[in-house]
Symmetry: none
DNA sequence: CGCAGCATCCCCATTCCTTGGTATGGCACG
DNA sequence: CGTGCCATACCAAGGAATGGGGATGCTGCG
């Protein structure tokens, strides 16, 4: 009865109050859907410092040891495929998503030997902020519960959202506020326009554009345009979808 | 009967054979779920490559005219919120996701007047490749079909995947790649450092920093530092945590 | 009404960025 | 052992950004 099941499990996941509780409820969800294992990882985008991410799983110990010992995370084809698919995918479809190297096939073979036969993985990305994936896996003698993949898709996404909530905390209101005009000027700056070009676009003087950007910098206590645009993106004053597709929309 | 409904509609969406067919099936899906309108947009991030995006919708004509006439795409709060949530969200929850300016509220008010009362929007990103969003909307006298939001979540994601399939095809073009040094220089640029400051930090000549940034701009076919940093963030070359280490540690 | 906030415009001096070049050494791969 | 890629370094010119002034008019709010 997927309907009741979905509602019950999704409720549990969204109500998870800490990471160990999230572990339990996602584990239970994986069993109820007909899977044998699960793994959830959630990473904040960070290139310099140590990764402060989440890794919950109930994979066999042997696999976890191999995975860590050989640092397989960096060459995991499942992770790579997460960057290539908007929806969840079954592991057996990996070759349709990414080019598989010999090492990739080897890695999957080792997994199969250790009890991870096939899986269904849901990946999510928030540009500039975080990425995560949630996998539901079956043992060798079984096959993926086809009727449950859509449910897995949902619950996996909810689990990732929960992991994010428990990791980064609630959205903190930005310390500053921009006016509409300031935001507009910052947007065009992020689109790569100069003050002069922006002044033409907005139909105002170049000096005014400079002034708006000056005010925006002062408010956020920043001293360069690039930092200002990064900051505006971080705060949600402007969006990625606003920056890059504007040109083809404008040209017709 | 959400179960049959979901299966039937998801089948139609995944089988869509061209964009106009996708339009029909998503439109039908929105009606069956209890919505009055839908809008789907899907954008590729490769500006120099195939310059194609998708915009399908059945919003009122008046709204489309206003939207284009005032270039509202650049200040659409719904699109900005897509960068801040891993799951779909109701428009009424926008203030919890992003800071709302006066212009934002005005925009939503105009939408309401033209028949777009509330909506549920699903956003998806593939780092370095594409972004999209799919909205399901109800008219003024109605409210969101609460029991259908999870279904909308699923179908919206499938519709985005279909849009991607029909746009980029099976072969994904190779993304732009930065060298380590280029990424490092871009990162310090996003942090607001000048070329000279960066040269001190990295222990190399200022000219070399300029050179790395020059190469990075050439690779991504961009012409300004601000656009370069936005692009690097979007592609996941750098992350917010790299730039503003104080942000996510702020509240917990 | 007064006042704060916003949007608009202008000037100037200094610094920084962008674009076009050239050039050397290291390293990997076929 | 050449070829390509990367990191490094330099030069020159023109355009753009930054930070410091100042100024006007409008709107909303107590």
């Amino acid at each position: 009865m997927p309907l009741h099941l979905t509602e019950e499990l999704s409720h549990d996941i969204t109500q998870a109050f800490d990471l160990s509780n999230l572990h339990s409820v996602v584990q239970r969800a994986s069993r109820r859907m007909g899977f044998d294992h699960f793994a959830l990882n959630f990473d904040l985008h960070q290139h310099h410092a140590s990764p402060d991410g989440v890794l919950l799983h109930d994979y066999p110990d042997t696999w976890a040891q191999v995975y860590v010992a050989f640092d397989l995370a960096g060459q995991d084809p499942v992770r790579r495929a997460c960057d290539k698919s908007l929806t969840g995918f079954a592991w057996r479809d990996l070759p349709h998503l990414i080019p598989m190297t010999k090492g990739d096939r080897q890695m999957l073979a080792i997994g199969r030997e250790l009890g991870l036969a096939d899986g269904y993985t849901i990946g999510r990305h928030l540009p500039g902020e975080s990425s995560g994936s949630c996998s539901f896996v079956v043992r060798a003698e079984r096959s993926l519960p086809q009727g449950m993949l859509m449910v897995a898709e949902l619950l996996g996404a909810l689990a990732l959202a929960a992991a994010r909530r428990l990791t980064v905390g609630p959205a903190t209101p930005p310390p500053v506020r921009f006016t509409d005009r300031q935001r507009e000027c910052v947007l065009w700056a992020a689109r790569g326009k100069t003050a002069y070009e922006t002044s033409i676009i907005l139909g105002i003087s170049e000096e005014t554009v400079i002034q708006h950007l000056k005010m925006a910098r002062e408010r956020s206590a920043l001293h360069s345009r690039s930092e200002l645009t990064s900051f505006a993106l971080l705060c949600g004053f402007i969006g990625y979808q606003d920056i890059f597709p504007w040109w083809w929309r404008a040209e017709r």
